[in-house]
Symmetry: C5
Subunit: 360 residues, 5 copies
Amino acid sequence: MGKNHKKHGNYKDKKAFTSPGTLVYVGKHVAQTTRIKLVEFNEQFYHEKLIKDLNHCKPALNDNKIVWLDIDGIHEVQVVEDIGKHYQLHALLLEDILNTEQKPKLEHFGDKHLFTILKMLQFNPELSQIESEHVALILGENYVISFQEIHKTDVFAPIFTRLNASIGKTRKGKADYLFYSFCDLIVDNYFVVLEKFGEKLEELEIKIVEKPEAGDQTLLYRFKRELMTVRKAALPLRDMFGTLIREDSPLIQASTNVYLRDVYDHILQILDTIETYREMIENIQNIYLTNISNKMNSVMKTLTVFTAIFMPLTFIAGIYGMNFDNMPELHHPYGYFYTLGFMVLITIALWIYFKWKKYV
Amino acid sequence: MGKNHKKHGNYKDKKAFTSPGTLVYVGKHVAQTTRIKLVEFNEQFYHEKLIKDLNHCKPALNDNKIVWLDIDGIHEVQVVEDIGKHYQLHALLLEDILNTEQKPKLEHFGDKHLFTILKMLQFNPELSQIESEHVALILGENYVISFQEIHKTDVFAPIFTRLNASIGKTRKGKADYLFYSFCDLIVDNYFVVLEKFGEKLEELEIKIVEKPEAGDQTLLYRFKRELMTVRKAALPLRDMFGTLIREDSPLIQASTNVYLRDVYDHILQILDTIETYREMIENIQNIYLTNISNKMNSVMKTLTVFTAIFMPLTFIAGIYGMNFDNMPELHHPYGYFYTLGFMVLITIALWIYFKWKKYV
Amino acid sequence: MGKNHKKHGNYKDKKAFTSPGTLVYVGKHVAQTTRIKLVEFNEQFYHEKLIKDLNHCKPALNDNKIVWLDIDGIHEVQVVEDIGKHYQLHALLLEDILNTEQKPKLEHFGDKHLFTILKMLQFNPELSQIESEHVALILGENYVISFQEIHKTDVFAPIFTRLNASIGKTRKGKADYLFYSFCDLIVDNYFVVLEKFGEKLEELEIKIVEKPEAGDQTLLYRFKRELMTVRKAALPLRDMFGTLIREDSPLIQASTNVYLRDVYDHILQILDTIETYREMIENIQNIYLTNISNKMNSVMKTLTVFTAIFMPLTFIAGIYGMNFDNMPELHHPYGYFYTLGFMVLITIALWIYFKWKKYV
Amino acid sequence: MGKNHKKHGNYKDKKAFTSPGTLVYVGKHVAQTTRIKLVEFNEQFYHEKLIKDLNHCKPALNDNKIVWLDIDGIHEVQVVEDIGKHYQLHALLLEDILNTEQKPKLEHFGDKHLFTILKMLQFNPELSQIESEHVALILGENYVISFQEIHKTDVFAPIFTRLNASIGKTRKGKADYLFYSFCDLIVDNYFVVLEKFGEKLEELEIKIVEKPEAGDQTLLYRFKRELMTVRKAALPLRDMFGTLIREDSPLIQASTNVYLRDVYDHILQILDTIETYREMIENIQNIYLTNISNKMNSVMKTLTVFTAIFMPLTFIAGIYGMNFDNMPELHHPYGYFYTLGFMVLITIALWIYFKWKKYV
Amino acid sequence: MGKNHKKHGNYKDKKAFTSPGTLVYVGKHVAQTTRIKLVEFNEQFYHEKLIKDLNHCKPALNDNKIVWLDIDGIHEVQVVEDIGKHYQLHALLLEDILNTEQKPKLEHFGDKHLFTILKMLQFNPELSQIESEHVALILGENYVISFQEIHKTDVFAPIFTRLNASIGKTRKGKADYLFYSFCDLIVDNYFVVLEKFGEKLEELEIKIVEKPEAGDQTLLYRFKRELMTVRKAALPLRDMFGTLIREDSPLIQASTNVYLRDVYDHILQILDTIETYREMIENIQNIYLTNISNKMNSVMKTLTVFTAIFMPLTFIAGIYGMNFDNMPELHHPYGYFYTLGFMVLITIALWIYFKWKKYV
């Protein structure tokens, strides 16, 4: 959250009050240069190269090949602007690519482009934190352009591998199948992230049920926030893919639709799991609070038992510590021992009483 | 839950990042072999056999008989794949059959297949736990294919019995009536599970109202989770059967529709019952929490009464235990007895005061 | 609730896993025999008789008269089955008549029958409980068939009276008006039940605001449950009558529609009242909980005041009870009285302090 | 509420189980006679008189004038029945006019009448209570009939004044504009009531934040109830006017529609304000509860500090009050003073400790 | 809130019960005079002047230029009325312009005007308060009229600057693009306000997690209220812009629609952020309450440990302070030291016991 706000702070400085459509990168500053990778392939053919000049990819558009342009690093505004001009992308679309704060969305730009913003999630095991990466996808007639923030890991590595090794159906498919592969990859990763999250949550649950501590509430609160991050990334997908399935986009073949329906199904399942975890966290919070109350009760009982037993005894001792001239008991030879015996009796009686009241 | 996560753990290892449509079994590992049972029947005729080779069932498709193919054990991916080829089932459909994590769903594959995922629930009385079993049903023109996980009990045993004994309308019906019988069986079983659940819940309720204990909160929490399991199995059914009733599938006869409407009605009633139990659990939780507070109050009152009565008495005893040279009361012949009498008076006064304040 | 579960227990034994459409009575067992009453009437004519043989009512169907067949007692499955055959009712409809657990519903069986399940509610003043009675109504072209469980009271008595005495419009109306009269009677009765419920609730409210006791939480919980019973009976009616008003059933005349709209209005008002009571109960619960906290606070203050006043006094007494050889104060002639005076001063000071802190 | 139930009690006695359409007054009994006022006007002409006989107003219907018939007092059933016959009103409509429990509603009776039930609210500053008055409006082609309960104030006085003084557009408008004026008057009054309510609520808020007392919870509860009264009066209006705007009633001119849209806007704003107050009350309740907890904490700290400081001191005094023969310290010439000094040190140490623990 | 109610107080006095359509300014009274600024521009041309007489802007309407009329200060009713006459605006529209209490809305007045009420928000860093300013926009065929309350800052300053400097697309666009610029400016400002709000909230969060104090609850409550202010300003925008995008207004060009869709997207994101903050506040409240309970627990433990250790010790000292004649221990030469040793043992034992019970 703190990190998000830092970024937002950037938004305020960089973006607000500029003329709409002005391209400004809203995100963390990075030193690395943007890497542009061009992949051309069809069922028989596969070629992959790093490029500098966008003119290299132009002819491919007229070929019988599928072109995939992968831009890793969106902080170089110029690169995004060039691609925008090259593929005739709308200014607002480019703005959304650069705005890492933009929530997931799907937009049709006529029959020419299908534009999607998605969030790739990663579970950082060291910080027990879920990290979100901004991903933009553009589906054209026979090309897909993907944009990602520069991170340690390359989000789309498994697809490179799959295409290269010619395993799976990805090589045989059209551009829309490639597009689907990206979505499937990202959505499937949510399962993995949620699983790791769930494991941590169950550890915490067991701990809280067994021996709750004062800091656990804060921990639970952090879990709730992490879950909210996943939810914010996944919730808009439901409507996005719901819409994509229902309407007929000329860029999506009927045969791909059944695959998108599968992605949609997974999204529903992810949202279900999130809801389940949410309820779990709330339940754990309730258990935690009840535990505090139960403990308080137990502390109070201890206090009451000690007080109620020793108060009368101390009082009796006080009685016989008085200095009256005429106190016959004091002069009885066994007065002291009778008194001690009486004290033992009182103690036993009170003990039984508190036993019966379930205080001890 | 823990079990679910174990499975999910499998999902991560086995399924994520493979090419979509790759068949992988996602579920517990089992040693038994898959059992394939072929039932052919019409009103006059009934034949049932265990088969190894799928070619045996091919001709049946063209007959005037209804074919029911029951696959008990979906961990042998090869078997599922063979059936898929044999009946020309879509790859994603096969994937869903193998994914025991898949939530209930209904899908039309053109006019050829109607595909359903359902969850059979069993109440395990030893662990007081509700167990869920993954069931997949495919309705074709004159056949039904059912898939189930290998468990101790055969889910569809009552239907075998009914077909075999020729009781009920199942024998006279078409494939869609058989399909309905499966759904009816599974949904009716939810009633039974909820009933057992309800009995346990009422036992717990009575216990908590009468003598709540520290562990009850955790127990209630477990009940809530169990109920969530049932809800997750039943909730998607409402939309599934709602859709099935409204749209005209060529695989469902009009006369069967009224029966499906009956199943739909039962689903609504089940969801109602779940909601009722949910509210009950929440109410019991409130009672539990209020009980803790009430008890705390009572403990505090005991403490206050003891403290407030003995403190003044001990103080008076302390007064006459002082060693001042000049303390006239000490030398009065009945000083001691007057003091004791005064103490008794104080005790009575305080007792009345606390009686009036409803502390004792 | 307990009672419901007993019945449900019957459901499990009697109904689950039988072939669908098999008629089984699901409800409490009763010894009385079913009473069948046949009423024939039109504006000029009124005839009422108890019958044994259903053939008596057949000709009436072709007459210019309205026939009302009232079956009091649905535990004799044979009777219901006979009527089903006689009037050509669907098997599932008969099943619903016998299933006293069935929630309210409305179903069209073509243009021939309009079938309704309703719940008659009765407030049992002795047990402070709301009792629910299963009622089924079938509207045909010129007849109405009503089914009710055998109870102490005859649900439809006021309609008999009204028809007999020829007061009101019921005699002049057609079968649909008679049908409306039944619905109106049942729905109007909800007002009466809610009113009695509301009176009891207000009594409880006043009691809890004035002097809350430990058992009140459980009482409130029971009120919540009773209210849930009413809600379960009334909630489905909103959709049922909403649908009935919107769609054109050939069995309902346009002139009757305005009356059904009136019933619909009453249902909305009933649901409103239920919602109001629900909020009231929740508010009372909050008041109750706050009262507990306030009381705890007051107990704690008493304890603190007693402790804080007597502790210092006892300590001072303890000081002068020490046996040091050299304690000059002890030998001062007025040491004792000065000490007593000092104690009084301390008490006054502490009293003022706690007065200022609003502890006393 | 109590008052409402009294009325409801009337409902039970007077209304339930009568034949539908029977006219019975459901409301408080009043001694005054009903006042019927007939106003005829157009842009040039204005005439107002009290009438006894309804025949006086008949010819007006065919004139070029607008007729407004105002009935103040609906407890005289005969008057309402006469008007019903005169203007050919439906029996159920008349029933609703008499039923002061009827919630707000809008009904079209063909193209002839538009019928509305509204609730006029008044803030009673003496009892800090919101009082509701039952108002019924009937819009015909060129007349409006208004019914109100007899109260101290005449609800429609401002409209009389406005018509009489010929200010505003009311005189120039048709019957529908007059009808709109009534609705506008009633809805605008909700603002006034809510404002007074809001002022009282803010007073209470400031009080609770500054010095909460035990009775405040009950007070808040009463505020919640009052707010519920307003909500019940205002909520149905949203749908009523939403419908009125959308559909084309022949009784409403297009030019009046923009005014009704304005009323609709006001209703939305009222519902918003109610929601805001609702949240405010809930927040205040939370503050109140937290305050109780904070206070309890502070009481506990006081208790702990007193106990923890005086217990060790008293113990030390107790030590040197023992009567052992051999206690060397007792005979030290400065033993007493050293002991006192040690006690002071302990007190200071504990005081610092509790200061550090933020107890004092 | 207090401020709002002051205004509302004005509403009651000034507005209620006047004839609808009567123009009354509802807002704070101000001394400054209204400033009217006329801007005429097209791509080549830009002219800006302060005017007194509205006739100056008339010819511009027929030109090829875009006219922007900015009215700063709506308290001079006469000015608004003049503009209303000049541009033929509906009376109710003018009423809404003057009613600073009016919530955001969008209204079409035929094809001639598109009318919008928006709320400009400002974060006042001194009072940590969000201030709301009433803004009204009217879009005509080639003109835009903007109304704002007189405040320290001119809301639309950035647009003046942009137009003047000819940067951005605003100069090239038509009136609808200018209209969009206003909306974009206001909505973008919500991000800035929420950001500042978020920073303050996070500061509070860190403080409460680390060292909660008694007043924090009230602070949180104030944050909740501020957030409600933003929500009330932003929530109606969702529907407003949702509608604007879907329907075809002749005043909005197709090319501008994609920009409005962008504004709509931002609104959704703002509502998301608000929801996030709302959950955050609730979570912080829970943490706060749990902290109180935890602290109470810790206080209780301290009390219990002190009491439970010193009570037995004081009792023992009391025993040997008794004055019985025959107490053999008293005469043992090491009795005193044995007793002291025994006391140390008891203290150690209790300390270990409480250590084990996690009290210390």
